[in-house]
Symmetry: C2
Subunit: 464 residues, 2 copies
């Protein structure tokens, strides 16, 4: 006899892909710590049974890396496979937090972190794939699923372990309930106008002053109200480049600077003060992302220049301390560094509690696609404002995604496609899988490339 | 014509091994976070050319893991191979810091950390293998090589990036120079008496009170002046077990307690205070190893109980902050978690600067073998004392090493075999390689084990 109720579909497989783009060969930009990145993704697809409740959908997720080690990241994702294969699609979509807890709580794999580095990024990729699946099943873009969710349910998605001294579940619930006031109007505004972005394109270290000037002016003409410059390799160069950029954009556009962890604490203070004359809006990653006390010392010394960090901050516990110590003015979440949407919910709630604006890191492969959803949720249903909030934008590799970001007048347009915008085009997977994809197979065999032109005109790799 | 000088031998290969011991099947102990570890090692051997200067030696190193994910750790070690293969044995032995800097500085691999988790532990394994090679080439046990080294050379082995605000090279040099005073007498004392250990064997969570009492008394009879109890699963149980242990050892033996990161900050304070009546010497890993400010809050609240942590602290930058914030009374280095001997030199120097005693974490696979060298160097040539300093000891898996630790009257005896005591027996590699070693091949084929008795009588796995 057939079952009286539809059988729930199960997750049948976690397929992984080592995707690498040869961005170091046509590099338009670089920074003080990352001279030659090959933008890569350790990519996965959750497959589901073809019949039953929730059948036939796929969940996509990935970790962004910059080349070597992408295979290690893929191996880490594969080590998590047994936690999701066999699970009911319906159940994981109803409660992605159960997957998050199972992955973070694996006592043997936990030894490899805990909650940091390769293993934690792999957890983030799998958890994000579950959220992609959940949003597709709900037939909503992820930002909307989150913004419309019950505050109680959102609180249930957060792991308060190690952060309860700074944020209790009760406080989180109160923040989310307050965030619902006026949410409908903000959703309408978001759909109309989008969420403000800023661009890093003019500011790569290797550019001539002429190119910097031209691209900076272009950024302002494109509607951006903030640009960013890489600094940290040579102080005299940085002084000249900051002056050049400030002259190009005028006093009314914000100029952020980014040292990519290049400095010790005292160097960061000295260098930032030397650039203060050009009114930098923030100094980003002045030192190690692990150094909470160092950031606090820098912030005190370089005010009114704001201190920003986060793209390499490993988890909610370090973000908690950056906030507790008053170490940052700007919190830069990354969608694919921490343990996925669940942990980023915790981090957004911590930022809201401490009143620190969130300005996400993006660029790389697909980071813009992912993180826009988190900022849009933050605007609609938590922080309630876009004031002093901008999402980084870098114009590369978007064409590899089936639902790439859309920028208009310097604003990210609200996604409408169901899911987390994480799905790469099948052609891109086939071409750039390493080492067997068509691009790499030809390349590694020493054959001439099929074309000297970049396959995708937007391949302009540089780490943001 | 043959070269006028001997050709220096080169490193020819990095051979890797996924070694796993089935400790979860015969588990004598467990803790609040690690119920079923399969003690494992991601193991590597640096091979060298058979002729030339420095020929024929091997460098051995490993990362300790507790089972699943050991393959990920092996993959991470393999991702580092290109940095060492082809290097001159003579050059890397003369300056292991060049290898350390090359590995930590790989800009693409750095993205996967930086300096934390899987990738950083892999760096530690390779760097430690280089030190093993260097000590074998010098025909000294590593502790002696370090203790006899020029202070200037030792300072050149330390990466001061991100710690110079707490410790300058000049300060490090002064500490090492001062450490040389009286070193000969301390070397003699070390060779005579050894370095004090403490034992975790009585205190695993699952033991009956009778067994706890018996093993605690045995530990005292064996010459140990400190034992350790796992806590954190159930407060009533912990109160009873602490009382039982204290009654067994009397007031004069130290009783450390270890929560293995089980608590939030407020729980840690409450729980530790509830156990204070039994005069615990330290509370170990009360909360997340990432939580510097949390440890500072706990320390302030639970004094005079000391706060200890370190076995999961990811790098020198977090240790620096634990010291700057006054967050710990006892610093617990681990030989195979951070970036190898070079980073542990930095951490030992930081501890000396701040006057905090170092009591290493050990146990697992080979951690006792490695870390004894670092404590013995610290005693002879840096801290200059063993007061309030003890190395953890757990009696398992030592027989797999060619030069296992030797305990006498509760003291680690100074190793005399050249190297870092990191070399595993060839038979053990052949038997416990996963999944193709003889043990696992039989096991995975579902065949009965050749014997129901543990192959090695000391297989008593439990995470220390």
């Amino acid at each position: 006899m057939p079952p009286a109720y539809p059988t729930p579909a199960r997750i049948t497989a976690v397929d992984t892909y080592d995707i690498r783009f040869p961005t170091s060969r046509e590099l338009d930009g670089s920074d003080a710590m990352n001279p030659d990145p090959d933008y890569s993704a350790a990519y996965l697809v959750l497959r589901t049974e073809p019949t039953g409740t929730g059948a036939g959908l796929e969940g996509h997720g990935f970790t962004f890396t910059i080349g070597r080690g992408n295979d290690v990241q893929v191996a880490a994702i594969e080590a998590l496979r047994h936690h999701v294969v066999g699970r009911s699609v319906e159940e994981v979509c109803a409660d992605p937090g159960t997957v998050n807890r199972a992955l973070v709580g694996d006592s043997q794999l936990r030894w490899l972190g805990p909650e940091k580095g390769v293993m934690h990024m792999a957890i983030g990729a799998v958890v994000n794939a579950v959220w992609d699946l959940a949003a597709k099943r709900a037939e909503k873009p992820l930002w909307q699923l989150l913004a419309e969710a019950d505050p109680e349910w959102l609180v249930s998605q957060v792991d308060f372990r190690y952060i309860a001294d700074a944020l209790t579940p009760e406080e989180a619930l109160a923040l989310l309930r307050a965030g619902r006031e006026g949410a409908a109007a903000r959703t309408a505004a978001l759909r109309e106008r989008g969420f403000p972005g800023y661009t890093t394109s003019p500011g790569w270290l290797g550019y001539s002053d002429e190119k910097l000037t031209r691209l900076a002016r272009q950024a302002v003409a494109d509607g951006f109200t903030q640009i960013k410059l890489k600094v940290g390799a040579d102080l005299d160069d940085d002084i000249r480049r900051c002056r050049t950029a400030r002259e190009a954009i005028g006093p009314g556009v914000r100029l952020a600077i980014d040292a990519n962890q290049r400095w010790n604490v005292d160097e960061a203070i000295r260098w930032t003060r030397a650039l203060a004359a050009f009114d930098p809006y923030w100094i980003e990653e002045p030192t190690s992302p692990d150094d909470v006390l160092g950031h606090a010392a820098i912030r005190e010394a370089v005010a009114p220049v704001r201190v920003a960090t986060g793209e390499h901050v490993q988890n909610r516990i370090v973000f908690k301390q950056l906030l507790q110590a008053g170490a940052i003015d700007v919190l830069q979440i990354d969608a694919a560094r921490v343990g996925g949407v669940n942990e980023n919910l915790a981090i957004l709630l911590l930022a809201a509690k401490f009143g620190v604006p969130v300005c996400p890191h993006a660029g790389g492969v697909g980071l813009c696609e992912l993180v826009q959803h988190l900022s849009m949720f933050d605007y609609v249903a938590l922080a309630g404002t876009t004031e002093n909030r901008v999402i980084e934008y870098v114009d590369h590799l978007h064409d590899h995604f089936t639902a790439p970001v859309v920028l208009r007048d310097g604003h990210y347009q609200a996604p409408t496609t169901p899911g987390f915008s994480a799905t790469m085009r099948a052609e891109s997977l086939a071409e750039f899988a390493y080492p067997d994809g068509t691009f790499w197979a030809a390349d590694l065999a020493g054959q001439p490339q099929r074309t000297q032109e970049p396959r995708h005109p937007r391949h302009k790799g540089a780490v943001a």
